[in-house]
C-alpha cells in the first residue's frame, strides 16, 4: 500500500506492537554481560548527619562487590553548577553521597553493589547506620510562617500581575466569597520505577539507559559531574514507562549508577524501590486563598488570590499557581500573590500541569462557591464573566474557543437538566451531583531538530533526541511526515530517545507535538525539495519545470498541482537521485519573530469539564459516574492518541479529587503512605464513563502546525468539577483536596 495519511486521521500508535508483546525495552531491561546491581540504602532520619556506617556483615554476603558511601566515594566536583540541569530551579542541587549531611528523609546514604540483585538487597538490609539528628520541620502549617517571595525566579516563571484596586472593589461589592483551599502533596508514581542501566564499555565511553524525559539533559548532567566529555556519554530512553514530570530532572538513581560504574569500572544497574519513589520529586502541597466579589447580576468586581507552595531548603521550586484565574476571567480589579515555604524534604517539581493543576483547580472551586453566593448557575456564571483576551496580561489569544467548549460540553452532558439546589437530585438511595469547571494550560513551542532520512527503497526514518513517554509522539511524527511527504505510514520509522540524535528539549509542558511536529514538517519539506530536484533526472522529466509549490506529495507520488497526470513515484525520484540515502536535518522553533509575538499574544489551551457524582451518604463513598470534557486545543493531529491523553489527565484528576495525597508524619519528617497500597491512584473500578470532545479551534498563529498540546490540559480543574459535583450532591463544601470519605461523614 502506498496510501499516505492526513494529519487528523485516527491512527493506532506505531509502537503498539512492541508494547503489547513485551518487546519494548525500558531502562532496567538491557542485558549486559557482567552487570552489577546497585541497591540504595536510604536515610532513616530527615535531617542531620551520618556518624557511622557499619557494613561488615553486609560485605560478608556472597557477591557483594562494594558498598559506596560518602566516605569512600570517588572524587566529585565542588561547584553547584556541575550538578545543575536544564530545568533545575534556583538553588543548590542535591548531590548523593557527597558528604555526611542529611537534608531529607529517605535520602540515599549508601549504595550496595553486588553481582546479584538479591545479594545487594540482602546486604543493604544488614547495614547499620548511626546518625546525629538535627531539628527539622515538615509541617506545612509551621512552614507557612517562613514563606517568602523568591527574588531569583525560576526560568520561565511568570509572577502574577495585579490590576485595578482589588481590595477596594472587594470591600465595596455587595456579594462576596472568601475561602482558603488546600491541595495535598502528590507523587507522580509512574508505573515504571526510576531506573538506570549504565553500560561501562571499557573504551572511556558509557551508555546510560535511563528513565528520563530528556536524554540530552541527563547527558550533560552526567558529563559535568563525572568528568566525561559529552561525546563519551550516550543516554538512551527509547521507551519510558510514564513519568508525568518525574523524569524532567535527572534523578539520583542515574547519578548513583554512574558513580558506581565509574568507581568500579563495571556496568551497573540501579532501580529505585516503590518506597524510594516517594523520596524525590513530588507535586508540592499548596494553600490558596481566593476572594471573589460580584455585583447583584453576578459580574465579577474583584478577584484576589494568594497562594503558597512548598519548596525544599536547598532549592527554590516555584510554579505559576495564581495566574490562571486572573487570566481567564474579565474583572477590572484583580490581584495575585505567590509565595514559597521551605520544608526539610526533597525539592518538589513539575507534575502534570504544574501550577495550573493546583491553582486553576482550587480557583474553580472558589468560582463555584461564588456562583452559588451570587445565585447564578455555575456555567452561566463563567460565561457571564468570560474574557476574550488574557485579562491578566491584557493580551489577545491566538485563539480561544472556550465558549464553544462550554456549549458543546454542556449539551453533551445535559447540563440544562440540572436542578440548581444542592441535594436536589437522587438516584435510588444515592445523592446525585453535577458540577463543572474550566481548565486552562499553556501552548508552548520549543526549538527542536529532526532528521529525515530516506533510503534507496524510499523508506523514511525520522530521528530526534526527544522522548515519547507514552504520549504518542512517535505516531504523530510519522503522521506529519506521511502527510507532508506522501509516504505510507508503514514505510516510516521513528527513532527517539537517544542523546546522540538531533537536539530536542526535555519532553514536558505539552510542547512535544507542536515542536517536534513542526521540525518533522520542515525536515520533510527540505527532503521533498531534494526529491523534486532528483525527479528532474528521470527520463522525460514528467514534472519538468515544477517548483516545490507547484507539486503535492501524496500516496507515494509527487504530483503536479495543475495537471495531476504529471507525476513521479517518490521511489523513482529517490532512485534518480543516484544516492543511497537522502538526509535533511532541520530545526523548527519560534525564532525571533515568534518570541516577540509571544510577548504580545497569549497562547493557551482551554477546557470545560462536567462531572456527575453519586454519593452514598451513609458510607461517604463518592463515585464519579460520568465526565464530559470539551477541549479547545487547536488542531488535533491524531484523535485516537489525543483522546487517550485527555483520558489520562482526567483519570489523574479524579485521583486528585478523591484519592491522592501523600501524608507526612511530621514527627519523623517522612511521607508515611509510600506504597500503592496506601497512596491510592485510581484503579479500573474507580473510572466509569469519560467522554472527550475536541472543539473546532483552527489556529494558524499559535505555531506552524496549529497544535496546542494535550498532555496536561486534561488534569486541570477536573478535580474542581468533581468537588463541585460533590457539593451539589451533598451540600457539603470541601475545600481541601482530596475529598476523602472522612470529610463527608
Amino acid at each position: 500500500m502506498s496510501a499516505s495519511i492526513r494529519i487528523g486521521d485516527s491512527i493506532s500508535r506505531i509502537d503498539g506492537v512492541e508494547k503489547v508483546t513485551g518487546s519494548a525495552h525500558y531502562a532496567a531491561e538491557y542485558a549486559i554481560p557482567g552487570l552489577l546491581y546497585g541497591w540504595i540504602v536510604s536515610s532513616d532520619i530527615a535531617k542531620g548527619r551520618v556518624l557511622s556506617i557499619a557494613d561488615a556483615s553486609a560485605r560478608a554476603i556472597a557477591g557483594v562487590v562494594e558498598i559506596i558511601t560518602h566516605e569512600n566515594r570517588p572524587h566529585l566536583p565542588w561547584l553547584d553548577r556541575n550538578y545543575s540541569d536544564q530545568v533545575a530551579p534556583p538553588g543548590s542541587p542535591f548531590r548523593a553521597l557527597y558528604d555526611d549531611k542529611i537534608a531529607f528523609s529517605h535520602q540515599p546514604i549508601a549504595l550496595v553493589v553486588a553481582d546479584t540483585l538479591e545479594g545487594a538487597r540482602d546486604a543493604a538490609a544488614l547495614i547499620e547506620v548511626t546518625y546525629e539528628a538535627d531539628t527539622f520541620n515538615t509541617d506545612f502549617e509551621v512552614a507557612l510562617k517562613e514563606k517568602f517571595e523568591p527574588i531569583r525566579k525560576r526560568l520561565g516563571f511568570w509572577a502574577p500581575k495585579s490590576r485595578g484596586n482589588a481590595v477596594k472593589a472587594f470591600d465595596a461589592a455587595s456579594l462576596k466569597h472568601k475561602g482558603t483551599y488546600h491541595l495535598a502533596t502528590h507523587h507522580h508514581n509512574p508505573m515504571e520505577m526510576h531506573a538506570a542501566t549504565v553500560h561501562w564499555r571499557g573504551d572511556g565511553k558509557i551508555t546510560v539507559y535511563d528513565k528520563t524525559q530528556g536524554p540530552q539533559n541527563v547527558q550533560s548532567y552526567i558529563a559535568a559531574i563525572f568528568d566525561f566529555s559529552k561525546d563519551d556519554v550516550r543516554v538512551m530512553n527509547p521507551y519510558v514507562g510514564g513519568a508525568f514530570g518525574s523524569g524532567l530532572r535527572p534523578q539520583y538513581h542515574v547519578y548513583l549508577a554512574t558513580l558506581a560504574a565509574k568507581m568500579l569500572e563495571r556496568s551497573v544497574r540501579v532501580v529505585m524501590t516503590r518506597q524510594q519513589m516517594f523520596s524525590h520529586v513530588h507535586r508540592p502541597q499548596a494553600t490558596q486563598q481566593v476572594s471573589l466579589a460580584t455585583d447583584q447580576a453576578g459580574r465579577l468586581q474583584a478577584v484576589m488570590t494568594e497562594a503558597t507552595t512548598v519548596t525544599s531548603r536547598f532549592e527554590h521550586y516555584m510554579e505559576g499557581v495564581c495566574n490562571w484565574g486572573l487570566m481567564n476571567y474579565a474583572c477590572e480589579n484583580a490581584s495575585g500573590k505567590y509565595f514559597i515555604a521551605p520544608m526539610d524534604t526533597y525539592t518538589p517539581g513539575d507534575m502534570r500541569a504544574p501550577g495550573a493543576a493546583t491553582g486553576m483547580t482550587l480557583f474553580e472551586i472558589a468560582m463555584d462557591e461564588m456562583a452559588y453566593a451570587a445565585g447564578v448557575d455555575p456555567l452561566a456564571f463563567r460565561t457571564l464573566n468570560y474574557s476574550d483576551k488574557n485579562a491578566m496580561d491584557d493580551k489577545p489569544y491566538t485563539s480561544k474557543a472556550l465558549r464553544e467548549a462550554y456549549a458543546e460540553g454542556a449539551q453533551k452532558f445535559g447540563w440544562e437538566r440540572r436542578s440548581p439546589a444542592p441535594r436536589s437530585m437522587h438516584d435510588g438511595r444515592e445523592l446525585v451531583g453535577w458540577g463543572m469547571a474550566t481548565g486552562m494550560w499553556d501552548a508552548y513551542f520549543m526549538k527542536t531538530t529532526v532528521k529525515a532520512k530516506m533510503d534507496a527503497e524510499g523508506n523514511l526514518e525520522l530521528s530526534s533526541a526527544g522522548s515519547d513517554i507514552g504520549t504518542g509522539t512517535r505516531t504523530v511524527m510519522a503522521m506529519v511526515a506521511s502527510d507532508t511527504l506522501g509516504i505510507a505510514m508503514d514505510r516510516i520509522s521513528v527513532v527517539l530517545g537517544d542523546s546522540d540524535l538531533p537536539t530536542s528539549p526535555v519532553e514536558g509542558g505539552s510542547w512535544m507535538a507542536a515542536s517536534t511536529g513542526a521540525a518533522v514538517q520542515v525536515a520533510c519539506h527540505a527532503l521533498g525539495e531534494r526529491l523534486l530536484d532528483a525527479a528532474g533526472n528521470i527520463e522525460g522529466d514528467p514534472l519538468s519545470g515544477a517548483k516545490i509549490d507547484d507539486v503535492i506529495f501524496c500516496d507515494g507520488q509527487i504530483i503536479a498541482k495543475d495537471n495531476p497526470s504529471r507525476s513521479v513515484p517518490i521511489e523513482s525520484a529517490m532512485r534518480a537521485s543516484g544516492e543511497t540515502t537522502l538526509e535533511c536535518e532541520e530545526t523548527a522553533g519560534p525564532g525571533v519573530a515568534g518570541l516577540l509575538s509571544m510577548l504580545r499574544v497569549s497562547r493557551n489551551s482551554h477546557s470545560a469539564i462536567f462531572a456527575e457524582v453519586k454519593v452514598d451518604e451513609e458510607l461517604g463513598v463518592v463515585r464519579v459516574t460520568r465526565i464530559v470534557i470539551a477541549v479547545a486545543a487547536g488542531r488535533i493531529l491524531n484523535p485516537r492518541t489525543a483522546r487517550s491523553q485527555i483520558l489520562g489527565g482526567v483519570v489523574m484528576g479524579i485521583g486528585m479529587a478523591l484519592h491522592e495525597e501523600t501524608l507526612m508524619d511530621t514527627r519523623f519528617g517522612r511521607f508515611m503512605n509510600h506504597s500503592f497500597a496506601e497512596y491510592h491512584i485510581p484503579v479500573n473500578a474507580d473510572i466509569d464513563s469519560i467522554e472527550v470532545i475536541f472543539v473546532n479551534e483552527p489556529d494558524p498563529d499559535v505555531n506552524p502546525l496549529g497544535v496546542k498540546g494535550l498532555g496536561e490540559i486534561g488534569i486541570v480543574s477536573t478535580a474542581a468539577a468533581v468537588a463541585n459535583a460533590i457539593f451539589h450532591a451533598t451540600g457539603k463544601r470541601v475545600r481541601d483536596l482530596p475529598v476523602t470519605i472522612d470529610k463527608l461523614l
Binding site: R13, A60, A124, Y131, M191, E192, T273
Partner: protein
C-alpha cells in the same frame, strides 16, 4: 542527640546468605518450553524472569503485589510474579506476555489493546493483557462493571482504563460469539 537505627530485623538473624543463596534445581514449562534451572530460594519468580530468563515483558512496578505489572499466567491462572519465589514454581507451566503472542501472531487481546489504544507508556500493558487473558478464562466477568472490578488489580497510571475495558469487552464478545458458533 544520637540515635541508632537498625535498618531491619534481618540484621539480627545470622547471615542468611548461605541458605538463601544456595541454588536448587527446578523444572517448569516457560512459554511452552521445558526449562531446568538452578535457582536460589531468595529469587522471586519476577526477578528470575526479568534478570535470568531475560523475559523483560514481565514488568516490575512495585515488587509488593500492589500494582499487577508483573502478572503472568501460572497454569492458566493470573498471578503477581513478584509474590512468588521462583523455586515454588517447580512443575508449573508459566506463560508470560512473550508466550501469549508474538508480533507476527498477536493474541486477540494484544490486537484489541492496540486498536482501542488501551495503552500509553506501555509499562503496565503486558500485565494488563495477561490478567485479561485469565479474566476471560475465569468467565466471571460479563459486563463492563464486572470487567472494571476484576481488572482492578492492574494499575495504569496513564489512565487508559476506559480503553482497556473497551478492548477486553471487544474480545470477550468475539470469543463468546466464537464459542456459540
Amino acid at each position: 542527640m544520637r540515635m541508632k537505627a537498625v535498618v531491619d530485623n534481618v540484621a539480627n538473624v545470622a547471615p542468611a546468605a548461605s541458605i538463601a543463596s544456595q541454588e536448587f534445581p527446578i523444572h517448569f514449562q516457560l512459554n511452552g518450553i521445558p526449562v531446568t534451572a538452578t535457582i536460589a530460594p531468595w529469587v522471586t519468580l519476577l526477578d528470575y524472569l526479568r534478570e535470568t530468563a531475560h523475559l523483560t515483558g514481565v514488568k516490575k512496578g512495585c515488587d509488593h503485589g500492589q500494582c499487577g505489572a508483573c502478572t503472568v499466567l501460572i497454569d492458566g491462572r493470573r498471578m503477581n510474579s513478584c509474590l512468588k519465589l521462583a523455586v515454588t514454581a517447580d512443575g508449573a507451566s508459566i506463560t508470560t506476555i512473550e508466550g501469549l503472542g508474538t508480533p507476527e501472531a498477536l493474541d486477540p487481546l494484544q490486537r484489541a489493546f492496540i486498536e482501542h489504544d488501551a495503552l500509553q507508556c506501555g509499562y503496565c500493558t503486558p500485565g494488563q493483557i495477561c490478567s485479561a487473558r485469565a479474566l476471560l478464562r475465569e468467565q466471571h466477568a460479563k459486563t463492563r462493571e464486572e470487567v472494571r472490578e476484576l481488572m482492578s488489580g492492574n494499575l495504569c497510571r496513564c489512565g487508559a482504563y476506559t480503553n482497556i475495558v473497551d478492548a477486553i469487552m471487544d474480545v470477550l464478545q468475539q470469543e463468546q460469539k466464537g464459542s456459540a458458533a
